[in-house]
């Protein structure tokens, strides 16, 4: 009897060993694929569309975002705006991430209705085109390529958003009694073959914010960080947050703050 247990244990060790080796191989293979694809990332097509939208006079007020929208670096300036957000915007009296800020500009400066933007904020699997807001975010993000994340943590209001985001990540609820940290709070966790980053560590947080906005090869759609947050809520079986809400900004602030000082590579590519 004892012999049999030992044998079973040995089999179990051998099996987990090969499973993790397979995971490693699969990851290495996928990394090669991604490196190859990053050289010609279809996200660039969305950058081009976003640039046109940024410079075009649009909306009921017929103004361009390039002439009216301040992303924190001066009106119309996109260089470094993505890596220096979320930040506090005095005119809106709120801490905002880039997507939320662009939505604010579109409603306040161009006169678009928020409800119209929020009706279809993300590209669906069967949509041929990404919504305007996604193209705009992709264009703005391209202006921070190869710059370091530099969210202004010294700003008390940004710090507050960061701390709230941190508390939200630890908040357990829903039918599964899950928090973000259940999957993303420790090293070495995974769902099926997908390794999950530990968002409380600088390396893990970087993996959480790197590559967004990203082109998803599955379905060929362009998606933003806001979409990623919404989908996390959905996967947790939480009610999904309202589009461009403070809650999502707080979570993005938590991740970006932890990733501060590390390099952002621009719009990415996802499987």
């Amino acid at each position: 009897m004892k012999k049999r247990i030992v044998l079973l244990a040995a089999v179990a060790v051998a099996w987990t060993g090969s499973a993790s080796a397979q995971t490693k191989d699969a990851n290495a293979e996928f990394e090669k694929f991604r490196a190859e694809m990053e050289e010609s990332n279809p996200a660039e097509l969305f950058e081009v569309k976003g640039e046109e939208l940024w410079k075009a006079k649009r909306g009921p007020k017929k103004v361009s975002l390039a002439d009216s929208c301040d992303l924190g670096q001066g009106v119309g300036k996109i260089e470094g705006a993505y890596v220096k957000a979320p930040r506090y915007f005095a005119d809106a009296d709120a801490v905002m991430d880039i997507e939320r800020r662009i939505v604010w500009c579109m409603t306040e400066k161009q006169g678009f209705k928020f409800e119209d933007i929020a009706k279809k904020p993300f590209q669906g699997a069967n949509d041929n085109n990404a919504p305007d807001i996604t193209n705009l975010v992709t264009y703005v993000a391209s202006g921070s390529r190869n710059m370091e994340f530099d969210m202004p943590m010294h700003d008390a209001k940004v710090r507050d958003a960061f701390e709230t985001g941190k508390a939200m990540a630890a908040y357990r609820a829903g039918p599964y009694d899950f928090s973000c940290n259940t999957c993303h709070g420790a090293d070495g966790k995974r769902i099926r073959m997908q390794n999950l980053p530990n968002l409380s560590s600088p390396e893990g947080a970087l993996r959480g914010v790197l590559g967004w906005p990203g082109y998803r090869m599955t379905g060929g759609v362009m998606l933003t960080s806001q979409w990623r947050m919404n989908d996390c809520f959905r996967q947790q079986r939480f009610p999904e947050p309202k589009y461009a809400s403070q809650a999502v900004t707080n979570l993005i602030a938590y991740m970006t703050g932890n990733a501060n000082g590390q390099m952002y590579k621009g719009p990415g590519i996802k499987r």
């Binding site: 010609s40 279809p42 097509l45 081009v48």
Partner: protein
């Protein structure tokens, strides 16, 4: 009206490396929409590439190619400064021509 392509061309050794990103739905005609109706096929059928005024690629593709396709070619005999002209035509007759210069 089709969206513009992104073309990158640079000399790598004795060949020009040309990378092309195309913006296209590439519908196979096999999918159904939410209402259950077949989404009509819509895909790029022919691609041509001219380098320095000479036709170097004259190809046909079909529905097996993904949405927003990426193509890469190594073209011998090209030199820096050559003009690269890429053209595609889809099954609905929609077309697009863009150009770049070999760096």
């Amino acid at each position: 009206m089709a969206d513009p392509m992104k073309i990158r061309a640079s000399m790598k050794g004795d060949a020009a490396e040309v990378r092309i990103l195309m913006s296209h739905a590439m519908e196979t005609g096999q999918r159904k929409d939410a209402a259950g109706n077949t989404v009509p096929a819509h895909f790029i059928q022919t691609i041509t590439i001219d380098v320095g005024g000479k036709r170097v690629v004259d190809g046909q593709i079909g529905t097996a190619v993904a949405r927003n396709p990426v193509f890469g070619f190594k073209i011998k005999g090209a030199k820096a400064g050559d003009k690269v002209v890429v053209n595609w035509v889809d099954n609905k007759g929609d077309k697009r021509t863009d150009e770049a210069t070999v760096a």
